[in-house]
Amino acid sequence: MNTAIAEIQPGKPILAMDHISLSFGGVKAIRDVSFDIRKGEIRAIIGPNGAGKTSLLNVINGFYHPQEGIINYKGAKRNDMKPYVAASQGIARTFQNVALFAGMSTLDNIMSGRMLKMKVALPWHIIRFGPAEREEIEHREFVEQIIDFLEIQAIRRTPVGRLPYGLQKRVELGRALAMEPELLLLDEPMAGMNLEEKEDMSRFVLDVNDQFGTTIALIEHDMGVVMDISDRVIVLDYGQKIADGTPDEVKNNQNVIDAYLGVAH
C-alpha cells in the first residue's frame, strides 16, 4: 500500500471517489458514483431517504469497503482502509443516530477524540503523575478550547446520555473536532433540531470551515441550510449520482426536481 501522503493545496481534491459501487447481498446501495471533495470546501450530499448517502460516508471512512471503484485520499489509493486507519489519517465523522459514549461525561467524550494524539505508554498511566498527567493536561487545554467554541461549558461534567438530542449532536461534533480532522464527515448534523439549534449548528459548521480550514462533507435534509452553507452539492438517488455542482446549479437541475417531487418512471 502506498502510504506517502502529499500535502494537499486548498482547492485541490483531498478525496476522489472513482466509479464506486457497494452492495449488500443483492441490494445495490451505491452504483457507480464518482465525485471529489476539494480541500477547504463544504461539500453537501443530499438525496431522498435510502439514496445511499450514509453508505457513502461509511465507505469514505472505511466502515464499508466498496466492491468496485477507487478511493483516492490525499493522493494515495485507500480501498481497504480500516476505520482506525482512516481516523489516524485525519478523517473524523459524526453519525445520523448520535454515536456518543452514553455513560461518559461530555468532557470525557471529547477527550476520547484526542485518543490518537495521546502517546504516553501504559506504565506511566499506572502512576499517573509525570508524563501521563502532563499529557492529560495538555490535551485537556485543547479540549477546553473546543468546549468554549461550541458553548457547552455548562454540561462539561454531565453524562451525555442525559443530554437532550441537540446538545448531544453538538458534543459529537466536539468529539470529531478534537481529532483535528482534515476531512470532517457530518451525517445529518441538524436532524431533529429546531430552528434556533439549526442556526447554531450551521454557524459552528461554517466557523470550523473558516477558522480551522477543515474540509467538510455533510449530509443534510434541510435544503435551506444546504443551499446556504455548502460550496458544492452532490445529489444521490437510488444509489446513483444524479447531479453535482454548486447549490444554484443543483437547484435547477431537472433530475433533482424529479427525484424530490417524484415523476412517473
Binding site: 461509511n58 469497503h65 466492491q67 477507487i70 453519525f95 454515536a99
Partner: protein, 357 residues
C-alpha cells in the same frame, strides 16, 4: 497499485475458507506426522490411536454415541427452557437449572406426602405455574427494560432464593425419582452389533421420545396458536407487540410456565437417571454452551446444539480423556462452543449480528 478493485465479499469469504483450509492442513499434517513418528508418541495418541480404536471396537463407538445422544437430549431440554425465556423476554435465565431441581423435588415431595403419582405430577405442573406467576410479578415486572446483565443477575438471585427455599421445604439430601410410579419404563434392550453388543436403557429411549413430543407440542403451540404468535411478536419487538395490544405480562407468565414444564420434564428424566439433588443445578451450566452454540434465540439451535455437545463431550471423554487424566467433560463443551463461535459469532442458528452505525 494493482489491488485497485478489492472486493470485500471476496476478502471476507476467503478469510473463512482460508481458516478452514489451514485447520484441515494442520490436521492432515498432524496425522501424517504422527504416522511417521509412530506408536507411543503424543501426536500418535491424539491423532491416530483413537480412530484405530473406533475401527477396532465399533460397538463401543456406537455405545458412546448413544450415551452422547442421551446426554444431548437432556442438554437440549435444558437449553430449550433457556431459549424459550430468552426469546420472549430477553432474560438470560440462570434459574433454569434450579427450576429443573425444583420441579423434580416438588414431584417427589408431593408423592412422599401420600398424594397419588399422577396427581402429584399435576400438582407439580401447577407448582410451576405458581412459580412463573410469582417470578413475573416479583422479579420481571419491576425490572422491565433493564440492562440484560441486571436481569441475568436477578435470575442468579432467584436461583439462590430457590436453592434456600427448596432445601428449607424438602431438605438438602438427594432423593429418588418416582420413576415407575409415573409410568416410565426401566430395564434395557441389548443387541449384538458387529462383534460386540450395545445396550440401550428403555428409560433413555422414553426420554428421547418424550423430548421429541415436547418439542413437537411447543412447535405447534408457537406456530398455530394465537398465544404462540403473540409470543413471537413479543420476541421480535416488545414495544411493537404492546402497541398491537399484546400484554407483556401474560406472555411472560406463559413463557416462564412453558419453560417450567420443560424444566419439570428435564428434572424427571434427569432424576430418573441419577437422583434428585441440588447438584443438578451445577450440571445445568452445561446448557450455556448448548444454547450459545445453537444461537440464543433458536429452538432448533438448542436441540441440535444439545446433541452436538452431548455426543462430542462423550466422545472426547471416552477417546481422548484418558490421555490427560479424564473428567474433561467438565470443560470440553465450552471449548467446542467457543470453536463454533469463532466461525459463527452468532451461533449456528442465531440471527446474524449486523454492525450498524
Amino acid at each position: 497499485m494493482s489491488d485497485t478493485t478489492l472486493k470485500p465479499s471476496r476478502a471476507s469469504m476467503s478469510a473463512g475458507k482460508r481458516n478452514w483450509l489451514v485447520t484441515a492442513a494442520l490436521f492432515a499434517a498432524a496425522v501424517v506426522g504422527s504416522l511417521v513418528v509412530g506408536e507411543g508418541s503424543l501426536v500418535y495418541e491424539i491423532f491416530v490411536s483413537p480412530f484405530l480404536f473406533v475401527v477396532e471396537a465399533p460397538d463401543l463407538f456406537v455405545q458412546v454415541i448413544w450415551e452422547g445422544l442421551v446426554a444431548g437430549t437432556l442438554y437440549a431440554l435444558l437449553g430449550l427452557g433457556f431459549v424459550l425465556i430468552f426469546k420472549a423476554s430477553g432474560v438470560f435465565n440462570f434459574a433454569q437449572g434450579i427450576m429443573v431441581v425444583f420441579g423434580a423435588l416438588s414431584l417427589v415431595g408431593f408423592y412422599a406426602a401420600g398424594i397419588p403419582a399422577i396427581l402429584s405430577l399435576l400438582l407439580s405442573i401447577a407448582m410451576m405455574y405458581v412459580l412463573a406467576w410469582t417470578v413475573e410479578r416479583v422479579v420481571l415486572r419491576p425490572l422491565v427494560n433493564q440492562d440484560p446483565l441486571i436481569l441475568f443477575m436477578a435470575t442468579i438471585g432467584l436461583t439462590y432464593f430457590l436453592i434456600g427455599f427448596g432445601e428449607f421445604i424438602f431438605g438438602g439430601e438427594p432423593k429418588t425419582m418416582i420413576t415407575e410410579e409415573i409410568g416410565l419404563p426401566s430395564g434395557s434392550y441389548s443387541f449384538d452389533f458387529m462383534g460386540g453388543f450395545v445396550s440401550l436403557q428403555k428409560l433413555d429411549i422414553a426420554a428421547a421420545v418424550i423430548a421429541a413430543i415436547l418439542v413437537g407440542c411447543l412447535a405447534v403451540f408457537f406456530n398455530k396458536t394465537k398465544v404462540g404468535r403473540a409470543l413471537r411478536a413479543v420476541a421480535d419487538d416488545h414495544q411493537a407487540a404492546l402497541s398491537v395490544g399484546i400484554t407483556l405480562r401474560q406472555i411472560w407468565v406463559i413463557v416462564w410456565f412453558a419453560a417450567g414444564i420443560v424444566a419439570l420434564t428435564t428434572g424427571i428424566m434427569w432424576g430418573a437417571r441419577s437422583d434428585v439433588s441440588f447438584a443438578l443445578q451445577i450440571v445445568a451450566l452445561k446448557a450455556l454452551p448448548v444454547i450459545i452454540l445453537g444461537g440464543l434465540t433458536s429452538i432448533p439451535g438448542a436441540i441440535i446444539g444439545g446433541l452436538i455437545i452431548g455426543i462430542s463431550e462423550k466422545l472426547a471423554e471416552f477417546y481422548w480423556g484418558p490421555l490427560v487424566g479424564g473428567s474433561i467433560e467438565s470443560w470440553v463443551p465450552y471449548f467446542i462452543a467457543l470453536g463454533f463461535l469463532w466461525f459463527r459469532p452468532q451461533g449456528l442458528f442465531g440471527e446474524k449480528i449486523i454492525d450498524r452505525i
